[in-house]
């Protein structure tokens, strides 16, 4: 029998892997993909809670999250393209003009 604990555990594992990826990778696009992975993990826990609480709010919230993720992907990738045009790299160690 699959309970909510299984889904929440899977969600926590995926979120943790996403956090690790954000921290150890140096490629901006891969970091961005890890952020998408974290968003997906949170969406999974939303739907799992919604299912086990007989509610619809979780699914609606996931709908809005996906919309925000789409907007974020468009703007973020545009920023990466703009940075690549100026610096010829997407390695975040070389992109430090805003560092004190």
């Amino acid at each position: 029998m699959i309970t909510i604990t299984h889904y929440i555990t899977l969600s926590a594992i995926l979120f943790t892997i996403g956090v690790i990826g954000v921290l150890i990778r140096r490629n901006a696009i891969v970091i961005f993909m890890c952020i998408e992975l974290m968003l997906n993990a949170v969406n999974l826990s939303f739907v799992a809670f919604a299912h086990y609480l007989n509610s619809m709010q979780g699914q609606l919230f996931v709908f809005f999250t996906i919309t925000v993720a789409a907007a974020e992907a468009a703007v973020g990738l545009a920023i990466i393209v703009a940075v690549f045009r100026n610096k010829e790299t997407v390695n975040i160690d070389d992109i430090n003009i805003m560092k004190w």
């Binding site: 699959i2 604990t5 299984h6 889904y7 929440i8 555990t9 899977l10 926590a12 594992i13 995926l14 943790t16 892997i17 996403g18 956090v19 690790i20 990826g21 921290l23 150890i24 140096r26 490629n27 696009i29 891969v30 961005f32 993909m33 890890c34 998408e36 992975l37 997906n40 969406n43 999974l44 739907v47 799992a48 809670f49 299912h51 609480l53 007989n54 509610s55 619809m56 699914q59 609606l60 996931v62 809005f64 996906i66 919309t67 925000v68 993720a69 789409a70 907007a71 974020e72 992907a73 468009a74 703007v75 990738l77 545009a78 920023i79 990466i80 393209v81 703009a82 997407v90 160690d93």
Partner: protein, 169 residues
């Protein structure tokens, strides 16, 4: 049956997530992420969220990931050059901190903090009326304002993407 499917899909998604993080080539990372998204769509179907599963496939795996792959190929990043890692000592502590984060999340979730109130949308009711119909009804009644704000958000994002990526306005 459901348990087998859950374990198979969960194993595939976790393995793909590990490959996503440790893969050198960004194109393969993107393909692993598409695999994770399809696996999560299968889990949504197991959780009887058919509309969200379809949106996940169409919007995430279809649109967003194609955008990612498009940018990777546009910037010609699929040839990974050997760049020197400025902080090589960061990897091991990061993995330990990640495991700590997982343990903390598990403790929080195991404690009975999340005793939510049960709603009215039971599985029988949802299956009788239809998942998509209920979501549509809620979107255009109770959640009309967030829905309209979403359209503004997408509009702003489209304009912002064009403004940022254009060389000279």
């Amino acid at each position: 049956m459901e348990a087998y499917l859950f374990y198979i899909v969960a194993t595939i998604s976790v393995a793909a997530a590990v490959y996503l993080v440790f893969e050198k080539n960004p194109v393969f990372s993107a393909l692993y992420l598409i695999q994770i998204m399809v696996c999560i769509a299968v889990l949504y179907i197991l959780l009887e969220a058919q509309f969200i599963a379809a949106v996940q496939i169409i919007v995430y795996a279809g649109a967003i990931m194609v955008l990612f792959l498009f940018v990777i190929m546009l910037l010609n990043l699929n040839v990974q050059e050997d760049v020197k890692d400025a902080l090589p000592f960061q990897k091991i502590p990061t993995i330990f901190l990640g495991i700590t984060l997982f343990v903390v999340i598990s403790i929080v979730l195991k404690s009975k903090l999340f005793q939510g109130r049960h709603g009215e949308y039971t599985t029988e009711y949802v299956n009788k009326v239809g998942n998509t119909k209920i979501i549509g009804n809620l979107l255009f009644t109770d959640y009309l304002l967030p829905f309209e704000i979403t359209s503004i958000l997408l509009f702003v994002a489209a304009i912002g993407a064009v403004m940022l990526a254009k060389r000279k306005i």
